[in-house]
Symmetry: D3
Subunit: 231 residues, 6 copies
Amino acid sequence: MRIMVINPNTTTSFTDTIQKSCERYISAGTELIVTNPSKGVASIEGSSDGIKAAYHLVELIEANEGQGIDGYVVACFDDTGLQAAREVTSAPVVGIGEASLHMASLISARYSVVTTLQRSVSILQDNASTYGLDKRCQGIHAVNLPVLALEDKALAFEAMLKRSKEILEQDKSECIILGCGGMSGMSEPLSEALGVPVIDGTAAGIKLIEALVGMKLQTSKACTYAYPNKK
Amino acid sequence: MRIMVINPNTTTSFTDTIQKSCERYISAGTELIVTNPSKGVASIEGSSDGIKAAYHLVELIEANEGQGIDGYVVACFDDTGLQAAREVTSAPVVGIGEASLHMASLISARYSVVTTLQRSVSILQDNASTYGLDKRCQGIHAVNLPVLALEDKALAFEAMLKRSKEILEQDKSECIILGCGGMSGMSEPLSEALGVPVIDGTAAGIKLIEALVGMKLQTSKACTYAYPNKK
Amino acid sequence: MRIMVINPNTTTSFTDTIQKSCERYISAGTELIVTNPSKGVASIEGSSDGIKAAYHLVELIEANEGQGIDGYVVACFDDTGLQAAREVTSAPVVGIGEASLHMASLISARYSVVTTLQRSVSILQDNASTYGLDKRCQGIHAVNLPVLALEDKALAFEAMLKRSKEILEQDKSECIILGCGGMSGMSEPLSEALGVPVIDGTAAGIKLIEALVGMKLQTSKACTYAYPNKK
Amino acid sequence: MRIMVINPNTTTSFTDTIQKSCERYISAGTELIVTNPSKGVASIEGSSDGIKAAYHLVELIEANEGQGIDGYVVACFDDTGLQAAREVTSAPVVGIGEASLHMASLISARYSVVTTLQRSVSILQDNASTYGLDKRCQGIHAVNLPVLALEDKALAFEAMLKRSKEILEQDKSECIILGCGGMSGMSEPLSEALGVPVIDGTAAGIKLIEALVGMKLQTSKACTYAYPNKK
Amino acid sequence: MRIMVINPNTTTSFTDTIQKSCERYISAGTELIVTNPSKGVASIEGSSDGIKAAYHLVELIEANEGQGIDGYVVACFDDTGLQAAREVTSAPVVGIGEASLHMASLISARYSVVTTLQRSVSILQDNASTYGLDKRCQGIHAVNLPVLALEDKALAFEAMLKRSKEILEQDKSECIILGCGGMSGMSEPLSEALGVPVIDGTAAGIKLIEALVGMKLQTSKACTYAYPNKK
Amino acid sequence: MRIMVINPNTTTSFTDTIQKSCERYISAGTELIVTNPSKGVASIEGSSDGIKAAYHLVELIEANEGQGIDGYVVACFDDTGLQAAREVTSAPVVGIGEASLHMASLISARYSVVTTLQRSVSILQDNASTYGLDKRCQGIHAVNLPVLALEDKALAFEAMLKRSKEILEQDKSECIILGCGGMSGMSEPLSEALGVPVIDGTAAGIKLIEALVGMKLQTSKACTYAYPNKK
């Protein structure tokens, strides 16, 4: 099984963080490729960043068709370009935002998301509502760190720990979802400190794409996600 | 007042159709610019077409900043790149999909949308649900004509008339929304033939952007639609 | 174009406030009539006030049929008698409550309403939910001033400013909607003080009715809003 | 216990039909007054009829305050003026539309409403949605008889039987709700003919108001349903 | 009329509390049997307690078939085993959780629930959402007393009074629902102290089952609640 | 990794069918135990069957605590006793109903469920709504075969093929979910015949539990799914 994980921004240190998380969770025997587009934006903070990143993400997937990729993970919590990605490949595609919400709902009755910036909150709420996965979600909150500030891991951990404690109390939640791909690697120590499960989206994405491939399931090409129409 | 209407696909005959509709509805004294990006896709049929078109739409709006545009209309019923467009300009931006749904809900208790292809139906349903404007919408249906087939106006009119009659009966609807920018120009004869109001999205977009500018309202730059963050 | 704006309560100083706001926003060439029923209630605070006002509003519209009115605005934020008004005239009718919610959703991802009294909050929530426009609405709140206390403009402005600041913080909203027709005139200074757009319902109503008339759209008489049945 | 049932239209033969249904279902020891306003409309078919009827209904309840009425039933399936009625009396008030939906949800997992005219369908859907009781409701349908045609009982029964059979099949429903006060008296024979429970709104209203009075519950006067404010 | 009220836990002092509340509210002429299964759990705090209690509840109802019971009340606020109970008897069955939500929505625009433990909150929210009765419910909260602690009536009353006051303020609610069968008996003094109506689920259940029997309504056996299929 | 799959009914031939499906999809290195309770019901067709099966399912899981089970799958499409099961073990638990809905939403924009009997449809709709996964679900339908009739595999396949074709057309769906554990083994040939993905719940359950265990995630014991309280 050959899985490609795409960090849709161009910051390679982010790609490295994601690679480490993938390696920690990937099954023996799964071949892993972690990459990012060479053009686009350094981080995805809002919708226009998202469109620019998605454009290059779609190009990158198109360029890989026929190279034996069995499944793709889009490693941005906004699920940047996810629906479009599903059209341009026959392999299944999972976004780490949706993956996290699915996994959280299997292990908890109440979960909350902690993302980087407030400007992403409405985007994530729209996604959760579109998927239907806002039903058990008690809140989507910002820790108020820019995406790239996550690279200072110690500072980011402290900020996340403090904010997560507040949110568990306020939302009466029982599980925390890390709302940014760049938070990968933080889930296990944070879970230990908080005493509740913490979901790492990259791990969730990897395991769900393995699950789909293991079930021999591919994206339905019947209509909505068919290859783009010839004009 | 200076309004720019952008057909986000590259088919200039479409842009001409939209221009005619705009000219028919625009207020005296409003300066009108109707244009399309020079790069991208010939028509938007699905999400990957949408991403490609949105990329160039955002670029085009960025290029116009500082040129005295008071408001933008995105003239694709999918509201391609709408949230992103709101970030990159201080002028208000209206999509013709949302505009149509807003207008229909002011004049009817039950309305239905007729779009081109079934592959766009789920995209439009997600949009309507995200806006909340699915509450009174009785159905979103395809006439099963590719976008570019709309250029044969007589054929397209017959197909739309037949399909709209079926839908009014089936949905018990009281108003029809034309679910594609390329259907502009069809609303008045279709309304006459059907005996119910028919909404032309381009007209709705033009009038709503005039309304916003007339109220001196601009997109809130407080957070979600702030200019993209510097990295 | 000839537009009638009806303040559904009998307080003429309110009608004057609304008239001033209308004059500020109306397009050149639109003829404006601002009026109120001579019987009914001095202010609309709750459902029984609403029924009494609506009764006389409907009578007033019926009395104006055939007088060349192209469109009506119901200038109470409760949208008093709105559905009934649509039945008794062929001209389009817009309520300032719905108008405000539509406009806010075109320029912000998150908006909140500030109305006069807590007793109206559930009424406004039911309206927003019925329209579907509660999706992006982050809260409907009372400033806790009786409707007629709005006539002390300085006091009302200070109270609104303080309450709006609290609500922007609490709801993480990006736009404020003035939840009472009597707050007309306050939107521009309040917007300046708050740094976010503020929606004046009367202005929104005027511009939306102009937009509908400009599109040559009338209320669908197909069924729900048909003229009352003969018995 | 003294209960007043108000047919909000002025057709006394309707009031008689409702009286008969009430007498059939009322508990021994409950004193029953069935009445209608002397002014207003002969039947309620749509929103403007509703406003006119509600105005006189509210007047009638106000006139009865202090006369020892323990509870009111509003005997129109549109729940005409229900929220307003709750404000003007300290006694509890139940509408037969809401009463029917509550009762149906206690005895069936799937129920459908059959009302008189299509023009009332959207009104009833809005009510059900406002109450939340659209969750298990599989459809609201018209039998396409004007309200006053229900007075030909044999014809009305045949039409209702035929339409109910279609609806049970189409909606896969397990219970029918009679969607008009004038259908009172039809529930038991229709239930026998259909083999599923059939809800008579008047009966439901009577029994729910008895239940509330029996529990010593009155409408909360805390805020929304407080007596109208003095101006 | 012969009504059986079943406390689904095995704590007989609870059954006694419920019996007292029933006797207070039951109509003259209704024969009352209050009982509990002899096996199962001492209190229902969460889903596994619920399954164990439901198993014995269903057995108990099956054992009573043919004994002339006209209606059942399930006297646990979780509505333990309610759907199952409806299948195994021809008599109507009402749960005290649903009964309370129905009654509260007839007398108030905004109500809140106070239950015992936080672990039941998500269960009650799921119930309310499934019934659709979460629409007007402003919150479901825990007083943080174990179910059996309710037997210290003075302590429980003080705790409930304090928590209810907080909740009325926070939720801007106008009615309190007692979210546990063991709180029966507390509604009238609590209502007096709070100045808003307080709903006792047992009373609500008793009166609703009397109402259904009085309407001659039985659970629809058409499909979902048909007797269990023979294998 | 040691996974226990529990068929909650007592029909061992069903357990065998499920075992075969599990063996086909399980990862190398996962130890598999497929079992069923020795007491309970032969098939789960409705809520009272569900309660009886759930009781013994919970007992069976309690009896296995401390035996090194890393995760459980509840192999009935009703997700019988799922919330209760989560309380009585520290290992994660997945139901095949929820698992199927999660998987379908990752590979298709529109999916429909085909279950055995109409009496289960409302139960499955309530589940989907509770999970939020009704958002993209276009319909839940019965093939009208009793559960045990699925053992005639050829007949069941023909019936499912015919019904699925009808449903794809009617719902405009792009993916079919097999709505009963006893349909396991049918997904691949049915997918081939229909040309769209078909989800086998048992496979989905197995792969999701492997995914959770691979992520080192356990059910949150913070509150809702904590071990049952001591009384």
